[in-house]
């Protein structure tokens, strides 16, 4: 009898331990860490939760790298990883934090805007895409980076409904889009984790008086949006000037303007609701091509990662140059890299990282 009781106690104890472990695993997931090595250009590292304390300790919190120039100017917010599987934006932001120097104005860099999405790749668009990718530095050191997901991890917020209604516009999307940061803007401080991330970004833009916001994305190789610069209508002239400048260098980008019928996207909502001029850049990622099995998301010769990062960074430069021309020096932002951006073309991206 005593032995049976002991056995039962042991089973209960073991069950409790398992339950406790599972609960801890769920609740102890804070923000995912990434291999970002801030360079001399970074003056401060803040957190997104500084703009919405409710995010602190959640998988949605993420570092913000602050680069201040020696001369007064405007403020740029650079977003990578809104969709964490669109790695050219993540790596362009990472390279920016590691190597860029700001000479005028301030740049706020968030390499993993949706840090929950960055934790794991669930194979959206292509189930054979990797969980990680590697870049080799000049020293031979191999650096490893997450290949994340398009959306917030399902376990990080309440289960998806059949339909996600964008509460600000009434637009209806598929239920899993409730976890898509770029359908949740302008967010909700009391909403889902994804809505809170969006809300915090809006609070950041307002509190830091952001003048220019650039959200870096990727599409498939053959997608309609591959190699496109999208802007809010208020920024259409800057985008046009930038595109024509880039074309003269042989870099061909399509131009699109935010739709009046499609809400929840960064370029639409930040443009409508803040003073920032928002842009969205789309490079072409073979990992988002459903027909390619085990895509090489780094070295595919059709669109190597280094070329995609070049496209993102060179477009940012062109936007900033023409922003200064059209909006005046008071809000201009000047950046510099210790190498020619064109050196990235066809190169090993790893040698440019710290």
């Amino acid at each position: 009898m005593t032995q049976r009781l002991r056995s039962a106690s042991a089973r209960i104890g073991a069950g409790f331990l398992i339950l406790f472990s599972v609960c801890m695993a769920v609740f102890a997931v804070g923000p995912t860490s990434h291999d970002v090595r801030p360079g001399y250009g970074v003056d401060d590292v803040c957190w997104l939760s500084d703009y919405l304390p409710a995010l602190k300790g959640t998988p949605g919190d993420t570092p913000i790298y602050v680069l201040r120039g020696g001369n007064p100017g405007g403020t740029l917010l650079l977003l990578g990883g809104t969709h964490a599987n669109e790695i050219a934006g993540v790596m362009a932001a990472t390279l920016f934090a590691e190597r860029a120097v700001v000479t005028r104005g301030t740049v706020l860099v968030i390499p993993h805007a949706n840090n929950s999405a960055a934790r794991r790749n669930n194979g959206v668009f292509n189930a054979t895409t990797p969980q990680w990718f590697e870049l080799t530095r000049g020293s031979g050191e191999v650096r490893t980076f997450h290949y994340g997901d398009r959306r917030t991890q399902p376990e990080d917020q309440e289960p998806d409904s059949e339909v996600f209604v964008h509460e600000w516009s009434g637009l209806e999307f598929a239920g899993d889009e409730a976890r898509n940061l770029n359908r949740n803007h302008p967010g909700d401080a009391d909403g889902t984790l994804t809505a809170q991330i969006s809300y915090a970004l809006f609070a950041l833009v307002e509190q830091e008086s952001v003048d220019v916001l650039i959200d870096m994305h990727e599409s498939s190789l053959t997608g309609r949006l591959a190699n496109t610069l999208v802007s809010h209508p208020r920024a259409v002239d800057i985008a046009a000037f930038a595109i024509l400048d880039l074309e003269m260098e042989g870099l061909h980008l399509k131009q699109e303007v935010s739709s009046d019928e499609f809400y929840g996207l960064s370029h639409r909502e930040f443009g409508d609701r803040t003073d920032a001029l928002p842009f969205l850049i789309e490079s072409a990622n073979p990992g988002q091509e459903a027909s390619i099995e085990n895509p090489d998301v780094v070295n595919d010769p059709r669109s190597p990662l280094s070329d995609r990062v070049y496209l993102q960074l060179r477009t940012i430069e062109a936007i900033l140059t023409n922003h200064a021309l059209l909006e005046g020096a008071a809000t201009s932002i000047e950046i510099a890299f210790p190498f020619e951006l064109s050196d990235l073309l066809g190169a090993n991206l790893g040698v440019f990282l710290r």
């Binding site: 595109i243 024509l244 131009q255 303007v257 739709s259 009046d260 499609f262």
Partner: protein, 238 residues
């Protein structure tokens, strides 16, 4: 800015060959009247020199566009915004209205339409492609009524081709007085990005030839700057 005088273009037009090469731009003037006109012109030159000069002047005049211009989009793509930049760089006095009204035509001497459909742009304007065609037809009719000459541009390359874009092209390019297309000339290798070639299938060449419309081919959108400088005879400031 480089580029041959307009009169030279007209001269080349009579041979039905590429007429001039500008910075990033190649022009072709299809035969407006064919070889027979060439022969007639030669006879006229031989017989009546002054009359031949007059003929040249008439043709030259026919290729001159006057300021101010109104720039608008047919298909509501972002190309019209790029055309505005082009006009600005050319020093052209122009007003940009993404979707111009008939009233906007008043006071304009030239209408510059940028062809190419965008579903986003059409959505923003609250119309579908059929509604766009109806509106643009009215715009062209009004321009004709006001004796406003029309330049049609397609400057967004192959990515701005497709059923809806092609509908704007096939409907309105034949009605223009001049075409500017970012795309390859016939029998000429396209060296830029293939996605930037708006004339890979020769659609614009066909339209220009069938309708006897002069056409300028450009390799980059900013190549249209020199074309506009020449067409509007814009003199450099200072």
């Amino acid at each position: 800015m480089e580029g041959l005088p307009l009169r030279s273009n007209i001269h080349c037009n009579r041979r039905g060959e590429a007429a001039a090469v500008a910075l990033h731009g190649k022009r072709e003037m299809p035969m407006k009247h064919g070889r027979r006109t060439w022969g007639i012109a030669v006879l006229l030159i031989l017989a009546l020199g002054l009359a031949a000069v007059a003929q040249e002047e008439v043709q030259t005049e026919s290729m001159t566009f006057t300021q101010p211009a109104l720039i608008t989009s047919i298909g509501q793509s972002a190309g019209a915004a790029q055309a505005r930049v082009v006009a600005l760089k050319a020093g052209l006095e122009a007003t940009y209205m993404q979707r111009a009204t008939l009233e906007d035509l008043e006071g304009s001497s030239t209408l510059i339409v940028v062809l190419g459909a965008s579903s986003k742009g059409l959505g923003a304007a609250g119309v579908d492609i059929d509604g766009e065609i109806t509106w643009a037809t009215e715009l062209f009719d009004k321009a004709r009524e006001l004796e406003i000459r029309i330049i049609a541009m397609h400057i967004e390359g192959g990515s701005r081709r497709g059923p809806s874009s092609d509908l704007t092209i096939t409907t309105f390019a034949p009605l223009a007085d001049y075409l500017i297309v970012k795309g390859s000339m016939p029998d000429t290798e396209w060296t830029a990005d293939e996605a930037a070639n708006g004339n890979a299938d020769g659609l614009f060449t066909t339209i220009a030839g069938e309708n006897e419309i002069p056409i300028a081919y450009i390799e980059a959108t900013l190549g249209a700057v020199d074309v506009l400088i020449e067409l509007f005879d814009i003199q450099p400031e200072g």
